[in-house]
Every structure is written in structure tokens, then in C-alpha cells.
């Protein structure tokens, strides 16, 4: 099933995708245009842990002039950086390079501590799409990528749906792509990740316990491009859906 979290008639609702519409938890069937989309995540009792990978596709690592890392390059995000489907992300005035990053995102489903890679999928609730925008003008070599680049308000759109794990038989073979104003600019496949999803779950839970609702954004392939105000950026992953964002 594909789960959404939306605002409809002033109330936050859980919705399920049904034949191109949303079936809300109050029984209403509404069109995708009739709601405001939130990140497809239920509230959690503790602050959500949001892990994100850098340089996790060999081609993107080359594109950014780095050798492929021998351990995951991971950074963290706060919750204020998340935004829903069909929302706007602000490009600060005066910057020269703000780019999207289409990323397969894992949503944890069970408390996960010291998980072995062979068991890793048991700890996944499902998958969604993230667009992990970066503003390269602000890169500094201290805890790089620094939060000014990667943790800006509403600069990590997520959605549209949380797709149940059972509906994604092989998350390591999904086509992903980005279009800007309808033009294809990024194209790749999750099979080209350097550190795959089971490895990442084993690696992270080896030193930190993850909880239901925590996220792992698994990095992006090559093909990043500058985005300007007014640009419509669609990050799409096979089986998961197309996440639409507009640069403001």
C-alpha cells in the first residue's frame, strides 16, 4: 500500500492511494489536488533520526571529484528540513549553485540495534523518495557537508507516499530519475549504490539504535544541475512515485 499524510479541510489525515485518488481515514475519497501534502510519516514520540548518505554512487562521487569512500559518508538532518510533496523550496538570493538529489529513502519499522545485513529488510517499514537539495555555495570543510548546505528549512522534500516494504520486492534495482521543467537531467539505478541498504542498516545499527519512523536517505547518482526560482523539479523512483517540488 501507498500511505500519504495530508491536510484536508483543515485536518491532518492519513490517506491510502486508490486508483489515482486518496482514500482518507475519515472515508473521503479526494483527488491529489484537493489536499496539502505532508511528509508521509506518522509522528514519533522522540525526535526523528534522519541519516543521509553522501557520495554513495560511484558516478556521483566521480562527478564531484572524490574517490569513492571506503566507509559511508553520513550526515544528519533535523526535522525542520523536511517538506511534503508539491511544496516549495527556497533558493537563497545570490547563490550560484543549488542542486536537487533524488534519493531512495528507507523508513525504519522496528527498533533496530546490531542488525545483521541478512536480517536488515525485517527492520524496514517501507520506502519513499527524498529530494535532498544542497546549496554548494555554502560548503565549508568543517563537518562537510555542513548544515548550512544540507539542513535548510523545507529543503528536503519527502514523498509523495510511504510505500510498504512488501510492495518493493527488490529496492536495490529501482530506476530513479529527475526532471527539471520536464527535461530529464538525472538518471540512475539503485543497483549502483556503493553501500547498499542492508549494509547501511548493519553499519548504522552497529553503533546507534534506530527507531520506527527514523530515515536513511541513501544518496544520489550523478546528474545534478542548478535549479532556479520557478523551476519544477520532479524526483521519481520506480514503484515509489514522483515527488514534485518547485523552487521559490
Amino acid at each position: 500500500m501507498k500511505h500519504a499524510r495530508v491536510i484536508h479541510e483543515g485536518r491532518v489525515r492519513h490517506g491510502l492511494e486508490r486508483d489515482g485518488q486518496l482514500l482518507l481515514d475519515d472515508g473521503a475519497r479526494v483527488g491529489f489536488d484537493a489536499v496539502t501534502w505532508l511528509p508521509p510519516l506518522e509522528p514519533v514520540p522522540r525526535p526523528r533520526t534522519i541519516l543521509a548518505l553522501g557520495l554513495n554512487y560511484a558516478d556521483h562521487a566521480r562527478e564531484l571529484a572524490f574517490k569513492a569512500p571506503d566507509e559511508p559518508l553520513v550526515f544528519l538532518k533535523g526535522q525542520t528540513t523536511l517538506a511534503g510533496h508539491r511544496q516549495f523550496t527556497r533558493r537563497p538570493p545570490g547563490v550560484s549553485f543549488m542542486h536537487y538529489e533524488c534519493e531512495l529513502t528507507v523508513v525504519i519499522g522496528r527498533t533496530a540495534r546490531r542488525v545483521r545485513r541478512d536480517d536488515a529488510y525485517d527492520f524496514i517499514a517501507g520506502y519513499t523518495v527524498a529530494n535532498d537539495y544542497a546549496i554548494r555555495d555554502y560548503l565549508e570543510n568543517w563537518y562537510r557537508p555542513n548544515l548550512r548546505v544540507k539542513n535548510r528549512d523545507g529543503a528536503t522534500p519527502l514523498g509523495p507516499f510511504l510505500v510498504d516494504r512488501a510492495d518493493v520486492p527488490d529496492p536495490m534495482a529501482l530506476a530513479l530519475q529527475t526532471t527539471v521543467n520536464g527535461r530529464l537531467t538525472q538518471s540512475g539505478n539503485t543497483k549502483d549504490m556503493i553501500f547498499d541498504v542492508p549494509f547501511l542498516i548493519e553499519y548504522f545499527t552497529g553503533f546507534m539504535t534506530l527507531q520506527p519512523g527514523d530515515l536513511i536517505l541513501t544518496g544520489t547518482p550523478d546528474g545534478v544541475a542548478d535549479c532556479r526560482p520557478g523551476d519544477v523539479v520532479v524526483t521519481e523512483i520506480e514503484r515509489l512515485g514522483a515527488l514534485v517540488n518547485t523552487i521559490a
Binding site: 522522540r46 525526535p47 526523528r48 533520526t49 541519516l51 559518508l73 553520513v74 550526515f75 544528519l76 538532518k77 533535523g78 526535522q79 525542520t80 528540513t81 540495534r113 555554502y138 565549508e140 570543510n141 568543517w142 563537518y143 562537510r144 557537508p145 555542513n146 548544515l147 548550512r148 539542513n151 535548510r152 528549512d153 553503533f207 546507534m208 539504535t209 534506530l210 527507531q211
Partner: protein, 203 residues
């Protein structure tokens, strides 16, 4: 019950003079190339939260941990500063600051969290760090490179601190180190006492 953060906890690197001075000789060298311009922040995830009085497990492959006595500013419902809380921002010892410090700072239990949030002037706060009763460090927050108002303004330039978020001021260098079996106590006249015991991680 002890207070715990409801939002994201952010730490600040290089905001105490002693820590900045210790790294200054390297700042123009690779990989840093230049001193930082914007505040250098990191995140302490929820799995790190250790309420006052609890035991904190030290991983078996880590002989010693760094004690990080600091103050957290707690953000209130309207985005205002609600008060201050004592924090022990533990870290696996680390000498490189080029990549985000997730493996060093986000291990289970690695943030001791003071039991209550108090309204106080951060510039008046002094923390004494005792390990097994012995005074090992005294930290003051009256000469931060970015004092609280400036740190908040410089962070707000690129991200919003939401209700429940916590912004920690940073730690003084060199940080005292402790090991499994040690009792760590942070004492502050303004903010109270925060004590934890380090224990060896069970395999």
C-alpha cells in the same frame, strides 16, 4: 520524570576559545583550508539521550570517552529561548573535523541530559567537571566566540530552531576523558548537578 529534549539537539564546534585556539594552527592546512565562516553544527540524535543518574555504556572498542560539559539553550513554543539545561556531550576521542562526526558523537547514550530547564543568564554559568570526585575541569560560558544572541542569529540565517529544539554552546578543550567504571559529575550553581556512571558495554 526527567526532562528530555522534544526536538532536535544541535551541538556547536569551535565556540569556546580554548577549542578554537587548539585547532587554529591547522585551520589553514588541508583538508580545512580556511577557518569556518558560519557556525559549525552537528546533531545529537535521540538514541544518545541519557537522563540524569543513568548508566552510559562505553563501547568495548573505545578505551576512553571525552566528557563534554556544556549548556543547551532550549527553544520554546514561540521560537523564543525557554531556558538553559546542563548537558554532557560525550564523544569518542576524535582529532579530525572534516566529515560529520556521527560515529563519534551519536552512539547510544552519548548525551547526558540535565533533569530540568532553568531560566538563567548563560554568561553566569560555570560548570565543574568531576570524575570519581576529583575536579578535572571548570568551564565558563562568559567568553564564547559567538555569545548566545549572536549564535542564535547566525544559525537563524540558514535554519529555524523549532519548539523543543536545543542548541548547545560548545565544549572547552582539552576535554577530560573517562572510562568504564568512572562516575562523572557536572556541577553548576545555576543549573544543578548532572551525574552519570560509565559502564562497559554488554556484548
Amino acid at each position: 520524570m526527567s526532562w528530555l529534549p522534544g526536538g532536535t539537539v544541535y551541538g556547536t564546534l569551535l565556540n569556546l576559545r580554548s577549542e578554537f585556539d587548539a585547532l587554529a594552527p591547522q585551520m589553514h592546512e588541508p583538508p580545512y583550508a580556511a577557518p569556518p565562516r558560519a557556525p559549525v553544527l552537528y546533531i545529537k540524535t535521540a538514541n544518545t539521550f541519557s537522563p540524569a543518574g543513568t548508566a552510559i555504556a562505553v563501547p568495548s572498542n573505545v578505551p576512553e570517552v571525552e566528557i563534554g560539559a556544556t549548556v543547551g539553550l532550549v527553544i520554546g513554543a514561540g521560537g523564543e529561548v525557554r531556558g538553559c539545561v546542563l548537558m554532557n556531550d560525550l564523544s569518542v576521542p576524535q582529532a579530525a573535523f572534516y566529515r560529520p562526526p556521527v560515529r563519534f558523537k551519536c552512539r547510544d547514550g552519548f548525551l547526558g541530559v540535565g533533569a530540568e530547564v532553568r531560566e538563567t543568564d548563560p554568561a553566569e554559568v560555570q560548570i565543574e567537571v568531576r570524575i570519581n570526585g576529583e575536579l578535572r575541569q571548570t568551564v565558563r560560558f562568559d567568553a564564547l566566540l559567538r555569545p548566545p544572541a549572536q549564535l542564535l542569529a547566525d544559525v537563524a540565517e540558514f535554519m529555524t530552531l523549532a519548539a523543543g529544539d536545543v542548541l548547545m554552546f560548545g565544549c572547552a578543550a582539552p576535554r577530560p576523558r573517562a572510562r568504564a567504571g568512572d562516575r562523572i559529575e557536572l556541577r553548576s550553581a545555576a543549573l544543578g548537578t548532572l551525574a552519570h556512571t560509565l559502564v562497559a558495554e554488554t556484548p
